[in-house]
């Protein structure tokens, strides 16, 4: 079996998902977890890109359907990241919490 460039990128994507998953579990800081989650997401997107590249036909460099889905995916991933960051900042603001472990959550703020 010959190793083509798109296969190499596919293996890279598989490794990215693994690296991201490890970071998501091991890093205690919520912001680092968001970063790791984005690594997983980008790995999945690259797999889409590889599937698209393999479907190249009729002068198109890749199957445009998965490529369009990836563009949609990147934008949705950004909006989810923005929401997650806003939640983390609000949590920190209200409780001073550094991580997501329950013991770290302080008393609710005085009303």
């Amino acid at each position: 079996m010959t190793v083509t460039a798109s296969t190499l990128y596919g293996l890279c994507a598989a490794a990215l998902v693994g690296i991201g998953l490890y970071g998501l579990i091991v890093n205690p800081q919520p912001l680092r977890k968001i970063l790791a989650f984005n690594l997983i997401g980008s790995g999945v997107f690259v797999i889409f890109g590889v599937v698209a590249r393999r479907g190249a036909a009729l002068g198109m460099g890749g199957d445009p359907v998965p490529q369009a889905l990836v563009i949609t995916g990147i934008v949705v991933a950004f909006s989810a990241t923005a929401l997650a960051v806003a939640l983390v900042l609000r949590l920190h603001e209200m409780t001073g919490a550094a991580t997501l472990t329950p013991a770290d959550v302080g008393p609710p703020p005085a009303q």
Binding site: G10, Y22, L35, G62, I74, S79
Partner: protein, 313 residues
């Protein structure tokens, strides 16, 4: 080994190294900077995968906007760094996590190596029908014609995300301006750039939107560029973010979705299906949707970066 394969191999090694560093480095600020670098490297990978539209989006959003968002957050969370680090799981948990991550990677690698050959593709169908849209860029044709429903729903997701961010507003600041107040340094470099770049950025954004019909580009890339210019002016203190209670702002945020829906429903009597375009009018309608969406996307992305209101109206 050919030159191209050598380049791909080096790029992949670099991407994996930066990704690992982003996870492993102790300092969170360094991790975020690593992530910005990673986004740009990944954009190169997209070019190598012949997906230039995705590369532009990745560079603008993955490398650019996400990094701005994360840098702002990491600076605020800096006081929690040392306390959080003390909670790093023990050696056994880390080993288990590594085994789990390794097996997921192995499973995915197996899938990649056993992808069907010849690969299934929708490219021939797209090539067959693209003439009916009057567009030259197949990705734009998929986004705004063949799979327009996905793009419509995505526009809705963006607005929902912003609504969700705004719900985190403290009660007394409701109706206030998003983000902190930025002071203007008249003679500062940032103020200089914020005066110099936006006119250029706006022209490039309109160009990217316009050529998106036939060449790589489109409303997401153009909208991100506009958002970046707007954020630059806000962060330099040259202008303020509008209070979130403004009616024009709320109208502008849903303009793209409303235009999309109106044109979509007009397709029912005129072309026989929801989101179908009447014969011969596909391209002008698509450009109208893209132009309206570009403005909404730019505002939504900018406001998502700024976060919930932190100052009074």
């Amino acid at each position: 080994m050919s030159m191209a394969l050598l380049f791909d191999g080096s790029l992949i090694a670099l991407i994996l190294a930066v990704a690992t560093w982003t996870i492993a480095v102790r300092n969170s600020f360094a991790a975020v900077i690593g992530y910005a670098t990673y986004g740009l490297l990944l954009a190169l990978a997209w070019v190598r995968l012949a997906a230039v539209d995705a590369a532009l989006t990745e560079a603008a959003i993955g490398g650019g906007l996400t990094s701005v968002l994360l840098i702002r957050a990491v600076v605020r969370l800096r006081p929690t760094e040392s306390a959080a680090r003390a909670e790093t799981p023990g050696r056994v948990s880390r080993l288990l996590a590594a085994v789990l991550a390794g097996s997921v990677t192995a499973a995915l690698a197996l899938v990649v190596l056993t992808l069907p050959d010849p690969a299934p593709t929708l490219a021939p169908q797209v090539a067959e029908h693209i003439a009916s849209t009057g567009l030259g860029n197949a990705v734009t044709a998929v986004l705004l014609s063949f799979r327009a429903i996905d793009t419509l729903l995505e526009a809705v997701v963006l607005v929902f995300a912003l609504v969700a961010v705004w719900t985190l507003t403290p009660d007394d600041l409701w109706r206030g301006r998003p983000g902190p107040r930025y002071d203007l340094d008249e003679n500062g470099m940032l103020a200089y750039l914020a005066r110099l770049l936006p006119p250029l950025g706006i022209v490039v954004a309109v160009y990217v939107l316009w050529v998106g019909a036939d060449l790589p580009g489109g409303k997401f890339q153009a909208g991100t560029l506009l958002a970046a210019m707007w954020l630059l002016a806000i962060m330099a203190g040259l202008t303020e973010a509008p209070p979130i209670s403004r009616r024009w702002l709320r109208g502008a945020l849903v303009l793209g979705t409303v235009a999309f829906l109106v044109i979509g429903f007009a397709g029912v009597p005129l072309a026989g299906a929801f989101l179908a375009y009447p014969e011969g009018y596909a391209k002008p309608l698509i450009i109208a949707i893209e132009a309206a969406s570009m403005l909404s996307i730019a505002l939504t992305l900018g406001l998502l970066v700024l976060g919930p209101p932190e100052q009074g109206p």
